[in-house]
């Protein structure tokens, strides 16, 4: 476990020191600022606009950070050959991969928590309300990031950064429409239904993690939903990482 944490810490430090987080955090602040500009146009619905815009922006930025950093996660190690000295130590490849995953998830989680905190403060200061309900949405987004980062790590274990990013974004987009795909399949032939049914179970059900519709109306997210979504995220991430480890285990360092 200490080896996994050591790799995770190094991965986190890399992102923090390369100031990428700072750049994205500034972008996040800009996004929240933009929501403030837009809110007067919403005729008394400014609080909802800020909440919706802020939470969606935070989640999207954290996802993009995860995809773009994660897609080159292993390629950069192999390209710069930093992995050679590390893998000659008594560490399993699966531990290395898990450390990379944990470091990347921690990075995206810090960004998400930081941006959610900005939204929280904005609502508190401007609208004089402590919007505790957004914490439920944040918890779901953190779980969602587990799934997304695991998917990126899976793709980065066998393909180039550009393809890994493309596949990951495609999976994330498709994951938000998994339910629609399932219903579409049910309307067609038995073959189409079987195929879409298979894809439905394979895709991450990312709609499960979207509770912004509740939160903007000031409704709390059911803790049972958070528990179920977290368990699903944990299992899905574990499956993706197991597949990634199996692929990475067979990979040759030339």
């Amino acid at each position: 476990m200490s080896r996994v944490l050591a790799i995770a810490r190094t991965t986190l430090l890399e992102v923090v020191r390369e100031r990428m987080v700072l750049t994205l955090a500034l972008f996040g602040v800009g996004l929240v600022g933009a929501s403030q500009v837009l809110s007067p146009l919403a005729l008394g619905e400014g609080r909802k606009v800020v909440t919706d815009f802020g939470l969606a922006g935070s989640s999207m930025l954290a996802t993009l950070l995860g995809v773009f950093l994660g897609s080159s996660l292993l390629h950069k190690e192999l390209d710069r050959r930093t992995i050679y000295a590390v893998m000659a130590k008594p560490i399993r490849r699966s531990e290395f991969l898990l450390g990379k995953f944990a470091g990347l998830w921690a990075t995206t989680a810090f960004l998400l928590v930081g941006m959610t905190a900005i939204v929280f403060l904005l609502l508190l200061v401007v609208y004089h309300q402590a919007p505790w309900v957004i914490l439920g949405s944040m918890a779901l987004s953190l779980a969602e990031l587990l799934v997304i980062v695991a998917i990126v790590v899976l793709f980065s274990s066998f393909t180039t950064p550009a393809l890994a990013a493309f596949f990951a974004i495609a999976t994330v987009v498709a994951g938000h429409f998994a339910e629609d795909l399932h219903y579409f399949g049910l309307q067609g032939s038995a073959l189409l239904s079987a195929v879409t049914g298979g894809v439905y179970w394979l895709l991450p059900h990312l709609d499960l993690f979207n509770a912004r519709g509740l939160v903007v109306h000031g409704l709390a997210v059911d803790p049972a939903r958070i528990g179920f979504a977290s368990a699903y995220a944990g299992l899905y991430a574990a499956a993706a990482l197991t597949a990634a480890s199996a692929i990475f285990e067979r990979r040759e360092f030339r």
Binding site: S2, R3, A6, L13, E14, T82, A85, M87, R254
Partner: protein, 338 residues
Amino acid sequence: MKRTEDLTTQAGPRTGRAGAIREVAPLALLAMENLTKVYRDPMTLKPFTAVDGISLSLARGEIFGLLGPNGAGKTTTIKIVLGLARATSGVVLLEGRDPSDPAARRRLGYLPENPCFYDHLTPEEYLDLVGSLFGIRRDVRRRRAGELLERLGLGSHARKPLRKFSKGMTQRLGLAQALINQPNLLVLDEPMSGLDPIGRAEVKQLLRDERERGTTVLLSSHVLAETESICDRVGILSSGRLIDVGSVPGLLSTGVREWEIAAESLPESLSARFRSAGHRVERVGPRWVVRVTDGQALQEAIAAMTRETVFIHSVEPRRQTLEDHFMRALAAAAGPKP
């Protein structure tokens, strides 16, 4: 040549069938048997043999040099030893274990060729990372990191980001990270690369110190003169095959190229006789030097000089260097030119 099953022989005495104690060979620190690695071109699937049936065994406390031209298979062999690449066939055992087993790498130190480390870290942080990968306690790894950075002349750069390091400083850090676990086996890929003459001398001393500690060193190098001065044994690789292996004195003892007889003066008649016998005769400063190429000719030349009461100043054998041997071994492996 040992057979594959010999590689798994355990250290120490072993009880035989009748309960008697019989001697067995001590466990080699690193053993390779018939190691072969074939790569396939991803497009054409055409096979390329990078390592071709290497069998080698390294004992505790020896410095072994793996020599060979570019593309000879040195780095591939090292990668297989470290578990970074898998052998197509053959066996590698690190202290009796398969290199893919992380436990086999607990007492292994490795310096890659042209090393590259996480440049967002400082040397202190990098050594801390490496120490934690080895499972070394925090206080111990911090103490060792400090000592190693001092020993390798990086003490004053302990908190400088690695992106600001020169090639030589990175090489020194590479050695520090390879030594932090006090390894039994040190694998160094081109350890002298990027170092200035002082740095090279320091690294040679460091390797001698490690040998004194009982560490086995496997190093690959292009710098043959320095390899000759530090290695106990060398192996020469060519096109993936181990074409020669032996102790440095052993490889070079049979390699006396010629003898030089230095004389104070040499009568013209004797000089002409030597020349007609095919020996080289030349004046070097105040002395005459006669060069003969075999022992029989040496005896005859000395006898002739003695008869003529020529004062012989010195007789010195001129041995081949490791570089001479290396070039000859490669030429022999390549076969006669068409």
